[in-house]
């Protein structure tokens, strides 16, 4: 197996050829902020949170292959400032009301906002009108929180073989839809056993009647910041997230 070495923030990181910067960093327990990346699925580089500077150029760590001798900047004020701006845009584009969201404490978007010290909203709220889909007996879809990461799309297509979800529209009008003539989740074969039921990093795909069952203090990001949960982030491909 051919290996190489690159520098991430000056620290030598070895990798196997074919690995992305993100994969090599994860293996080395170096945190690169991300939302749409998931070790189980093909990278798509859409959220841009994992933007790093590799040999002087801004690139997505989840899609850029690691190269021998590459010098990568990751945890720098410049990059974290840009990531914070991306988060601020994501927060105003949807309706993210953390105080009453059942995903609070288990939400990657919220955890990253804390990690990157997002202290203010900065941009004007869009307040989009996105009705929830409560048609399914066991699941609720709250589109207000969708960040278009397409993890559910990829999981349903690539793992479940169902194609329950898709993105429709273009540009600012892009949105998550359900592949049914009615557009309702109840009219699909979506089920609790689906991988897509357990990959949403925010609070869109929710099992009904379970909200707030986990007390404050025992949620994923209550005690340990996401940037220090490298083992948990890397292990996502090894187990179905419950």
């Amino acid at each position: 197996m051919t290996t190489g070495t690159m520098l991430i923030d000056g620290v030598p990181v070895s990798f196997e050829y074919g690995q992305t910067i993100m994969e090599a960093a994860m293996a080395a327990k170096i945190f690169i902020p991300h939302l749409c990346h998931h070790p189980e699925f093909t990278p798509q580089g859409s959220c841009k949170l994992c933007t790093v500077k590799a040999s002087g150029r801004y690139v997505s760590a989840c899609t850029m292959s690691a190269k021998d001798g590459m010098e990568v900047e990751n945890n720098t004020p410049d990059l974290n400032d840009k990531r914070r701006t991306l988060l601020q845009m994501l927060f105003v584009e949807g309706n993210h009301f953390c105080p009453s969201c059942e995903k609070s404490g288990n939400c990657m978007l919220q955890a990253l906002a804390y990690e990157l010290e997002m202290l203010s909203p900065r941009f004007e709220q869009f307040f989009p009108n996105r009705p929830v889909d409560a048609s399914h007996p066991d699941f609720l879809l709250d589109f207000n929180r969708c960040i278009l990461c397409e993890l559910c799309v990829r999981a349903s297509r690539d793992v479940d073989g169902k194609n329950v979800f898709a993105l429709a529209g273009r540009g600012i009008h892009k949105h998550l839809i359900v592949n049914a003539r009615s557009g309702q989740l109840a009219d699909t074969d979506f089920s609790l056993q689906d991988r897509a039921a357990h990959v949403c990093p925010v609070g869109v795909i929710l099992e009904k009647r379970k909200g707030f069952a986990v007390p404050i203090g025992q949620r994923q990001y209550d005690e340990t910041p996401i940037g220090q949960q490298m083992d948990e982030l890397a292990a996502r491909s090894a187990k179905a997230e419950e």
């Binding site: 105080p99 929830v132 707030f212 404050i216």
Partner: protein, 498 residues
């Protein structure tokens, strides 16, 4: 219908309009307007609630299990009350009107911790400056900092009583403010042995300080009985929940109402039947409705809620120290109900003592450490939850569709019940103290004192440090400004006073 001084007579002649805006935050902003005739006689007084919150509307369409957490954002002072009232309503929706023993005791402990901290906050931080220094005393020290300087031990007790109540909430709800402990059908946590022992270690001191607080209020009444008995006093009906056996209970019970002489108007009314007995009148000059007992009508059916109602509505308090104080309070009335707004403080401190005693009892219950947290049965389309919040009876009513989304929400909060009583108190005070007088900060504060006695929601947000901003504008009929007086958030007075 219209009450005396609610609307000026058509033949009252030229009237000047004086507005106190904002008077305080009562679920947002409130203002008082006065119309005064050429002889400086008060012709009209109204307490307006001019903010519109809209919770009843935007809760519609949300999943029911989210509501107990969302709806508590109505308030930063007593969110636990909304959290629990909503949870109680959804207990019925999920078919679990009777909780597990552990869930029942954890919720009750959460609520009594809330009562303790809220009553301590209101009395020590918000009202004690008025009561200890005088209503028109030096505004510069009429605040909790002034109390801390002049009476450091009293201020310290207030701060630590509140802190203890908040720790009770933290251990039961996960956070001191806006926790998530109660869920439909139960709770999401119980206490650990360490958490229980930590609370047990401090409770005897809290009971002792609560007793001292009752003694202090009694002393204030004894020092100036004319003021305390007459200030803004009006007669009205009383409403609260009581336990099935007539005991005082903040968490659960049946509705009971008394008339101004103590006669029973209704009793044993279950929560689900509240709408058969309680109506709400809308008036064009306020966003806040005016509740009334339907069988008595709007003119005779309005009532007071809160400590003064509860302590006189129940048959007894089920804790020994508070019951002894209740008896002394009742005796003070010499066979009559006590209607004085300032007696709210006395009743409130008796309730704080009851809360502290009850917390101790609950902490000694083994069920507090149990692991059986949630129940669920056959789902129902509707649920009503009633609880006694620190400020009075709180009603949450929801309907839920087959898809688990809320289709209807009706909230009658404590401050709403007290809408007409607060208006009455302000009118009495305006007549007693403002008639024919030149506007001063001290006179304005008399109106605030009357409103504060009812402990309206969100009051702490504005005047926790004596920072209740006020603006009084005197205009002629044409709307020209004749006089203006302002008090800033920092307590500074400015404006013409010639």
């Amino acid at each position: 219908m219209s009450f005396e001084l609610e609307t000026a007579r058509a033949d009252a002649g030229n009237l000047r309009r004086v507005a106190i805006d904002p008077v305080s935050r009562v679920e947002g902003h409130g203002k008082v307007t006065l119309l005064i005739d050429d002889n400086d006689e008060i012709q009209q007084v109204r307490l307006h609630i001019v903010e519109f919150r809209g919770f009843e509307k935007f809760i519609q369409g949300r999943p029911y299990w989210e509501v107990p957490v969302m709806v508590q954002r109505l308030c930063g002072i007593c969110p636990v009350s909304h959290h629990l009232a909503a949870s109680k309503a959804f207990d019925h929706v999920v078919g679990a009107p009777v909780l597990t023993p552990t869930a029942a005791v954890v919720r009750r402990l959460m609520h009594y911790g809330q009562m303790l901290q809220s009553h301590a906050l209101h009395f020590f931080h918000l009202s004690s400056p008025d009561l200890l220094f005088g209503f028109a005393s030096d505004v510069g020290r009429r605040n909790i900092v002034g109390v801390a300087a002049a009476y450091p031990e009293i201020a310290k007790q207030g701060v630590l009583l509140r802190k203890y109540g908040q720790e009770v909430i933290r251990h039961t709800a996960g956070k001191r403010i806006h926790g998530t402990g109660a869920i439909p059908g139960g709770v999401n946590r119980s206490l650990t042995v360490d958490e229980r022992d930590e609370l047990l270690a401090g409770i005897d001191q809290m009971i002792a300080w609560s007793r001292e607080a009752v003694v202090m209020v009694k002393r204030l009444h004894a020092t100036d009985p004319v003021l305390y008995d007459d200030f803004g006093t009006f007669r009205s009906n009383l409403l609260s929940i009581v336990r099935d056996d007539g005991a005082l209970d903040f968490y659960d019970g049946v509705l009971r109402a008394r008339d101004a002489d103590g006669g029973i108007l209704l009793d044993g009314v279950e929560a689900k039947d509240y709408h058969q007995w309680i109506g709400e009148e809308v008036k064009p000059w306020s966003y806040m409705k005016f509740p009334f007992l339907k069988h008595l009508g709007t003119e005779a059916g309005w009532y007071k809620v809160g400590p003064l109602a509860r302590v006189q509505n129940c048959d007894f308090i089920p804790s020994p120290l508070a019951e002894a104080e209740r008896r002394e309070f009742i005796d003070y009335g010499k066979g009559q109900l006590i209607h004085a707004p300032l007696a709210y403080h006395w009743a409130r401190m008796i309730e704080m003592l009851y809360a502290a005693e009850t917390i101790k009892t609950l902490l000694q219950t083994d069920d507090l450490l149990g692991g059986d947290l949630v129940r669920e049965g056959a789902h129902q389309p509707e649920g009503v939850g009633i609880i006694e919040a620190p400020r009075g009876t709180l009603i949450h009513h929801y309907a839920v569709g087959d898809d688990d989304l809320v289709t209807m929400c009706n909230l009658i909060v404590s401050t709403t019940h007290n809408n007409q009583p607060m208006n009455e108190a302000v009118r009495r005070v305006a007549r007693q103290y403002l008639n024919g007088r030149k506007l001063t900060e001290g006179l304005l504060n008399h109106i605030e004192v009357a409103i504060r006695a009812f402990d309206p929601c969100l009051s702490c947000a504005t005047h926790a440090l004596g920072k209740m901003p006020l603006q009084v504008v005197l205009q002629d009929r044409a709307g020209s400004e004749l006089d203006r007086l302002e008090k800033t958030g920092a307590g500074e007075i400015s404006g013409r006073r010639e």
